[in-house]
């Protein structure tokens, strides 16, 4: 038995479909591109700056955490980059550098890595970071203030959701649905261009990188709840379309809610999870304190996720347990 060749001995199955985490991350970033490009076009170099800083800071935080915790380096999986990118999509183009650094720290380190890294975070890291920032430095998310120096060719330079919240639906009358869809509204760098986000979202759903059940039920939840409110008092509560195409809704629908780790994987739980997020979003917007409730709605849905995912089909040959 001398001169034996060395063969690879491993275990079944011997095939793999070729999917991977890195691939998933890159396609997510690709899907964000249409919305981002519009943001760059509208807000110019400052937007490019915020995005670049956010992506690199997120990756550096990940690296720093890996090193500090003496764990294998996981920057290569692209997940940190996605977190940085999605976070920056929600920021105004004028966000100061320290906000970006703090935000990525909160997302990558607090939101993800202290829970054990990829796959172990109970909440969406970006939602965690944005929620904390809103509570601590709310001013940064006051888009009317932050973008005051921009003079863009929009129907109105107010943030639609704050306008509705403070002055009733008529304040947002200037915006037609098509304005909103085409991104003619102020907001986060990558959050305003509805059509771009939808194109990206459809891409992700078709390719199976996000779970369509979550995104579609999220949308259904928003439309249904908004419709109820809207019919009850059309002057106070915005229409379903306004809710759908303003604020962070579409980023949340396609980039936050379906985040793997903090969302369910079974069919009915996915639907319930999406619905919850949708309903909560409109509830917080209409009767809560915040103009945009999406972030908190996601966190609430994340909280329910482990419970929801217990609803699952019976296993084959299941034997009842005492």
């Amino acid at each position: 038995m001398l001169n034996q060749k060395k063969f690879i001995v491993s275990h079944a199955p011997f095939w793999h479909n070729g999917s991977g985490i890195t691939e998933r991350s890159y396609h997510t970033m690709l899907a964000a591109l249409p919305a981002l490009l519009m943001g760059f076009y509208q807000y110019g170099m400052p937007a490019v700056g915020v995005i670049s800083l956010s992506v690199s800071a997120a990756m550096l935080w990940e690296l720093a955490f890996n090193k500090a915790a003496k764990l294998p380096v996981t920057v290569g999986d692209g997940n940190a980059a996605v977190v940085g990118l999605v976070l920056a999509m929600l920021l105004p183009a004028t966000a100061p550098w320290w906000i970006v650094i703090m935000g990525t720290f909160l997302a990558v380190v607090v939101g993800k890595n202290i829970f054990g890294g990829i796959g172990s975070n109970p909440f969406n890291p970006v939602a965690v970071a944005v929620a904390m920032m809103m509570l601590s430095w709310g001013g940064c998310f006051d888009f009317n203030q932050s973008l005051v120096n921009y003079e863009l060719n929009f129907p109105s330079m107010v943030y639609p959701l704050t306008a509705v919240k403070n002055f009733g639906v008529s304040a947002a009358d200037a915006f037609t649905v098509s304005d909103l869809i085409w991104g003619k509204q102020i907001g986060g760098i990558g959050a305003g261009f509805g059509l771009g986000l939808i194109v990206g979202g459809i891409y992700l759903m078709l390719r199976g990188f996000i779970r369509w059940e979550i995104s579609l039920s999220f949308i259904a939840g928003i439309i249904l709840t908004a419709l109820l409110f809207n019919t009850s008092d059309p002057s106070r509560y915005g229409s379903p379309m306004l809710h759908l195409f303003s604020g962070y809704t579409l980023v949340a629908v396609f980039f936050l809610a379906p985040e793997d780790s903090s969302s369910p994987v079974n069919f009915i739980p996915m639907l319930l999870y999406g619905l919850t997020a949708g309903v909560m979003t409109v509830l917080i917007r209409n009767i809560g304190a915040y103009a945009d409730g999406v972030i908190f709605a996601i966190l609430v849905a994340n909280l329910l996720n482990p419970l929801l995912d217990k609803i699952r089909p019976k296993t084959l040959g299941h034997i009842g347990k005492a």
Binding site: W15, N17, G119
Partner: protein, 436 residues
């Protein structure tokens, strides 16, 4: 290899190999210079065999007494070595190597006396015949547990057509085998599982010939993996779900490959124990050759004969791509249940990683047993096997391997599951021993 399709909304489809009524002719190779036969008994020295002892083709070789298993020599020659062999999960065997002589002599085991056709004789002589008939689960008495015998004319894994070939080419042996099995085991019904080929007239006709002659019922199996795995056949064809943690024998079903049944038929009608095995050889480029070799033929001989060149870091797999087992040596022999030999180029060896589960849920959605694999794998990774069994249905796994195939994090999930079952079994045995 089947890759993820561009659109991820649909589940991947895994179509079974279909011979579609084509008549296959197995290619034979020249007589091996030596054969190695694995006896189920753990190694305890040479036992009753002596090195240099002459044996005939078809002769039964007993190592340490009848109770501990036996092998049937597949060549005529002399015993050249008896050595230990450690298989998967540390299971130990004894490898008996026989150098073949040029002159072949075949041993007649049974007379032509119909009285020789008995369950006892079948157990005594046929456990090592091609197809490895699972006879140990039958007892001669009337309260034999097994009511239904399923004859698999389908191959459980992808790319393989060994059993389909046997089904279509050896109907006479199979008919005989079925009648004999029915008689000696007292099974109430026999079901023949054949591939569902829609418009392939050949297979159905052949199966019809078999079924008609032996009073067996013919049922078609969906042509998509894992429909031909025993658990799935039990559920979809017989309408009996094997409860998690139980064996199919415990609910009264016995599975035989078509080849095993043919071996029984052939053995009792010729008085000799068959020693050649049909095998699908799957080459690196996934082209397939049907071959017929003596049991115990080293893989090396087969690779030489069919021009399969192996390099460092390639992979040799006994069985199919989803459920097979990799072996580390070209000296590994063809066993009675070796239906396929697959070689994989170093470049197509699929990577595994030590990444944690990212909870993408692909595994959950593909698992035919509805197991919450995403949770199960966390418990298994943490070594919490009991928790995995109690809360996340470890024992419901039917062993299809699809979860590992689709895992985004490339976790060797299926291996974790097998390890978990193995560890729990070990713990149970230790506990029993301590309590005894």
């Amino acid at each position: 290899m089947i890759k993820r399709s561009f659109f991820g909304l649909t589940k991947p489809r895994f179509a079974y190999e279909s011979v579609n009524g084509k008549s296959l002719k197995p290619e034979k190779i020249s007589m091996p210079r030596s054969v190695t036969l694995f006896c189920k008994a753990p190694y305890k020295g040479n036992g009753l065999l002596t090195i240099g002892e002459k044996v005939k083709t078809g002769q039964k070789l007993v190592l340490y007494g009848d109770s501990e298993g036996y092998v049937i020599s597949s060549v005529t020659g002399t015993v050249s070595s008896v050595s230990p062999y450690i298989g998967d999960f540390g299971k130990s065997y004894t490898a008996i190597t026989i150098s073949a002589a040029t002159q072949e002599e075949t041993e007649d085991v049974f007379g032509k006396d119909p009285a020789d056709i008995s369950l006892e004789n079948a157990k005594k002589y046929l456990a090592f015949s091609p197809g490895a008939p699972a006879l140990e689960n039958f007892s001669g008495s009337d309260e034999s547990q097994i009511k239904t015998i399923v004859v698999c004319g389908v191959d459980a894994d992808l790319l393989i057509f060994t059993q389909q070939y046997v089904m279509s080419s050896r109907s006479e042996d199979i008919s005989k085998g079925i009648s004999i099995l029915k008689r000696i085991t007292g099974a109430e019904s026999v079901v023949i599982a054949i591939p569902c080929n829609g418009n392939a007239p050949g297979s159905m006709k052949n199966a019809g010939a078999v079924g008609g002659a032996s009073g067996a019922e013919i049922r078609e199996i969906r042509s998509e993996y894992p429909a031909a795995l025993p658990h799935m056949i039990a559920k979809e064809v017989l309408g009996q779900v094997v409860p998690a943690g139980k064996t199919w024998e415990e609910i009264g079903i016995g599975f035989f490959s078509a080849e095993a049944v043919a071996s029984v038929g052939q053995a009792f009608s010729s008085g000799r124990i068959p020693v050649s095995k049909a095998v699908t050889l799957i080459k690196k480029d996934m082209s397939k050759v049907l071959i017929e070799v003596r049991l115990g033929t080293p893989l090396r001989d087969i690779f030489d004969a069919f021009d399969v060149k192996l390099n460092e870091k390639d992979r040799i797999i006994i069985g199919g791509p989803l459920t097979g087992a990799a072996v580390y040596s070209e000296d590994f022999p063809v066993q009675p249940d070796t239906d396929a030999i697959m070689v994989q180029d170093a470049e197509s060896v699929s990577p595994v990683s030590d990444y944690p589960c990212i909870n993408c849920g692909e595994c959950v959605r593909i698992c035919p047993a509805n197991i919450p694999v995403n949770m199960l794998v966390r418990f298994c990774e943490a070594g919490q096997y009991q928790g995995a069994a109690d809360m996340y249905d470890l024992y419901a796994c039917i062993g299809c391997g699809l979860c590992s195939f689709v895992c985004t994090a490339k976790i060797p999930i299926f291996q974790y599951i097998r390890l978990a079952k193995y560890e729990l079994e070990r713990m149970r045995l230790t506990e029993e021993a301590a309590n005894a």
